[in-house]
Subunit: 450 residues, 2 copies
C-alpha cells in the first residue's frame, strides 16, 4: 500500500537508455520549457470493444517518489557515459509537473487521452517508459477482467493469476486491476496485503497426493481448515471425488464443520460441473458450491453462463494474468505540445492528434454512452469531461480513493456501455468522434514544413 513499497520495485533506472540520452541533451540545449505529453491507445486489439483505465495510482506513486539514489548515480558514473554536471542534475531530479487523467475504472476508447503530463520537457520525457509500463499492464488486465464480469454478472470471480503472471509486479497488479473491474477476490496474498483485496484459496493436487488416500486428504484438510473447506476433487476421478466430498461433509456436519465447495480443475468444465452438481444434489448436498479453474476466460464463462452450467465461482489464472487473447495494447505516450507549440507526429499509421486534449462523454436518455467528443483542451462540449486534474507541482491533489470505491465506479462505468460494445463479439465501431478544431489544427500543422 505504501508509496515506498511501490517505489522499491522500480528504481529510477528502470527506464530506456534514450530517456537519459535525451535528458542530457535537453539540459545541454537549455530545452526545459513546458511540454505536454499524453498517453493513449492507438487502436484497440481485435477482441476488445472498449478498455478500462487502470494503473493511475501506481503512476502517481512513481511520480511523487521518483529520484535517483546515490547507488544509481554512482553506477551511472561508472559507465563513463555522462558528465559530472549531468549526474549532479540527475541526483537532484524530482518530478514537479501536472497530471490530468481518467479516473481509474473509466471506460475509454481508441485515441482518447488516458493521462496527460505537463512539466518541463526533461521531466515529462524521463517518465515516459515507466508510465507506459504501469498503465499498459493494469489497463490490459482490467479490460480483460471487465469482459469476464460482463459475461457473468452474478457469479463469483477469483484471480488465480499469480504464478503465470509475468513476474512479481504483474502478479500483484493483476489482482488489483481485476478487482477494480469487478472480480471478488484474489489468491495472491501479497495483493491482499498491499491493496486490501479479499483473499481466497482452496487446496492443491499435491495435498491430495501427499496422502495415500484421497478421502484421508479431504478429512485432514477439513480438520485443519474448518473455516474454509473447499475440496479439489479431480486428482484421480472427478465423480468419485465428488462423492467423497459429500461423505466428508456428512461426517463433519455433527462437529459443525461445513464443506463449502468443490473445485474442478480439468476436463470439460461444463460437462464435469453438470455431472458433479448431479452427484452432489442426488446425495443431498445442494449447498456445496462448485468452483471451476483451468484455462477459464471470458469466452468459456460466456458459454457456460449461456448454457446455465451450474458453476458458482470461476477461478481465472493464466488467461487473465497475461491477457491471453490480447497480451499487449498498441499504446503510446506522445509529445502533444512544446513551449506552447502543438506537435503532431505524421509517421504512417502512427499519426497523432495534436495539442493538449480533453474528452466529453455524452449519454443517451437511458444513460448509455452515445458519443465521446475528442477535442482541444480549451473547447467545451455537452457532456462530462473525462480528464481530471490529479497532480499539481508533483504532488497528488487528493488521497487515493479506497479501492472498493474505484471498483464501484468501474461497475457504474460498465453499466453505461451500449449493448453492442458490451458483448464479447468484436465490433468495428467506436463512439469517439474528433472535434472540428482538432481537425483544423491537424491541417494547420501539416501545412508547416518541419
Amino acid at each position: 500500500m505504501s508509496a515506498s513499497h511501490a517505489n522499491a520495485s522500480a528504481p529510477a533506472l528502470l527506464t530506456d537508455l534514450y530517456q537519459l540520452t535525451m535528458l542530457d541533451a535537453y539540459y545541454t540545449l537549455g530545452m526545459e520549457k513546458p511540454a505536454v505529453f499524453e498517453f493513449f491507445v492507438r487502436r484497440l486489439p481485435a477482441g476488445r470493444n472498449f478498455l478500462v483505465a487502470a494503473g493511475l495510482e501506481q503512476v502517481l506513486d512513481y511520480l511523487e517518489n521518483l529520484h535517483f539514489t546515490a547507488d544509481e548515480i554512482e553506477w551511472l558514473a561508472s559507465t563513463q557515459r555522462y558528465s559530472a554536471s549531468f549526474l549532479e542534475r540527475l541526483s537532484k531530479f524530482r518530478f514537479t509537473g501536472q497530471v490530468y487523467a481518467l479516473r481509474e475504472g473509466t471506460v475509454f476508447f481508441a485515441s482518447e487521452p488516458v493521462l496527460r503530463v505537463v512539466a518541463p520537457l526533461p521531466e515529462a520525457q524521463l517518465v515516459e517508459s515507466r508510465i507506459v509500463n504501469l498503465l499498459h499492464y493494469q489497463t490490459l488486465v482490467a479490460s480483460k477482467a471487465a469482459r469476464c464480469r460482463l459475461a457473468a454478472p452474478r457469479a463469483e470471480l477469483i484471480d488465480f493469476g499469480m504464478r503465470r503472471a509475468h513476474g512479481a509486479e504483474a502478479a500483484a497488479l493483476c489482482s488489483r486491476a481485476s478487482y477494480i473491474a469487478g472480480f471478488d477476490s484474489t489468491a495472491t496474498v501479497e495483493a491482499s496485503r498491499r491493496f486490501g483485496i479479499p483473499v481466497a484459496g482452496t487446496m492443491a493436487h499435491s495435498f491430495v497426493q501427499a496422502h495415500e488416500m484421497e478421502l484421508e486428504a479431504f478429512r485432514n484438510f477439513a480438520k485443519c481448515r474448518p473455516d474454509n473447506v473447499v475440496l479439489l476433487i479431480d486428482t484421480y476421478d472427478i465423480a468419485r471425488g465428488a462423492r467423497r466430498a459429500v461423505e466428508v461433509a456428512t461426517e463433519l456436519r455433527s462437529s459443525g464443520v461445513t464443506v463449502k465447495g468443490v473445485r474442478i480443475d480439468s476436463g470439460d468444465l461444463a460437462v464435469e460441473a453438470r455431472r458433479v452438481r448431479g452427484i452432489l444434489d442426488s446425495l443431498g448436498a445442494k449447498d456445496i458450491r462448485i468452483l471451476v479453474s483451468g484455462s477459464v476466460d471470458e469466452y468459456s464463462i460466456a458459454a457456460m453462463e449461456a448454457d446455465q452450467v451450474p458453476v458458482d465461482a470461476y477461478c481465472l489464472g493464466t488467461r487473465l494474468a497475461v491477457s491471453q487473447d490480447a497480451p499487449s495494447l498498441d499504446c503510446a505516450y506522445k509529445l502533444q505540445q512544446y513551449a506552447g507549440r502543438p506537435c503532431r507526429k505524421r509517421s504512417q499509421r502512427k499519426e497523432t492528434w495534436p495539442g493538449p486534449r480533453q474528452v466529453y462523454r455524452q449519454y443517451d436518455p437511458q444513460g448509455l454512452i452515445c458519443r465521446d467528443v475528442l477535442c482541444c483542451e480549451d473547447e467545451t462540449f455537452e457532456g462530462r469531461a473525462l480528464l481530471w486534474h490529479v497532480m499539481d507541482g508533483g504532488r497528488r491533489m487528493a488521497h487515493p480513493p479506497p479501492l472498493t470505491e474505484v471498483r464501484d465506479f468501474c461497475a457504474e462505468e460498465l453499466a453505461t456501455l451500449p449493448i453492442a460494445l458490451s458483448t464479447l463479439e468484436h465490433v468495428r465501431y467506436s463512439p469517439a468522434k474528433v472535434s472540428d478544431r482538432q481537425h483544423a489544427l491537424v491541417a494547420e500543422l501539416d501545412s508547416i514544413a518541419r
Copy 2:
C-alpha cells in the same frame, strides 16, 4: 545483481493463499517428510518446437533468501486466520532443500523436468507459486528470443521491451532472458545495471518534435551525443529524414563525429529499409546502418532476412516482452514423490509422469539432438544427463556463472537443434521418449486405489 535486490521485488507473501493453508495443515498433521516436486511444461504452445530454460538463478536467489519479515508476520496475524504457533514457525521458515535443474540456456521439450526440488513437504510446497512465476516468464522470453536469433544469425538484435513488458520485474527479466538467448543488448538501463548486459538506445520522436525543424533536432542530437549518433528518421517523412541524416553526417565529418545509423519505426519496414538504403548509398553514406523497430518479431525478421532486406539491427519491443504469439506456457510444478512413495496425478489431459526423473540427451553423428530419454532418476542411458545438482541444504553449490557464459552455452545448445525443430514452422514432433520403467511405474501406480 545482488540477491537482496532480487528479493526486495518479491516478498515471501507473493504466493497463493493455499500455500499458507496447506503449510499450516502439513505442520498440524506432522507431514514433513521429504517431498519431490518437478517443474515442467505439459505441452508446447502452437508455434514453439522447443523451449529454452531460463530463470534458474532468480529461483536460487529466491530460495536462498526466502524468509518472512516481521512486517509480514504481523500482517498475517492481523488477518486472524492463523494460530500463534503457525506464525512462530513461519517466522523461522527457511528453505533447506536440494535443487536439481537444467542449466540456463538448455534447449528442452514438453514433459521434461526443468527443475526438481527435494525438501521437507512444507518447504517444497510453499515455494511453488514463485518458482513457477520466475521460470515461466524467463523461459517464455528466452524461447521467443531464440527464435529471433535463429531467424537472423548475424543481425544485431536489441531488446526494446521495457515499456510494454508486464510490470517492472518482467521488464528487467525480459532483457536478461533475451540476452541469454542471443540478443546483443537492451535499452533497459536497470537490466544493464543488474545483469551487466550491454545497453543501447537511440532517440524518441519527441526529441524531433520538441524542435521546430527536424534538421535542427538531428544536429542538436549529434552535437550532444557525438559518441552514439543514431537518428530517428520517420517522424514526418522517411525519405526526407534519410537525406537529412546524410546532410548532418556530411556536416559533422570534419569535426570527427560519425552518424552511425538511422532508425525506422513505422510503415512497411522492408519497403522503407530498401528505400532508405538506396537514398543513403546514392548519397555516399554506405556506412550508415539501418535499424528497424515497431512490431518486429521472428516472423517479420525471417521474412526480411529471406528477402535480403538491408537491415543491420532489429529492435524488438512488445512482441518479445509479452511473447505476443504465445504469452504463456502450460507449465506446472507437481508432486512427484512423498516420503519415498511416487505420486501421479491422473486429471484429464493433466496426467503426470511419476517419481523423481532425469533426462538423457542423445546426439546424432553431426552433433544434433536425436533423442531425449525421460526416465526415472536412478536409470542410466547413453548420452548426457540434463539435470544438474545446483543447490544443497538451501545453499547454491556454485556461484552463478557469468551471463556471457550462459549466453555462449545457449548458442551451443541452439546449434544442436535438428533443422526441423529450428525453423519457425510448427512441427508436431518431439525428440522426447519416455523410458520403459517410467511406463511400468505409471501402470503400477494406476492400479492402486487412491
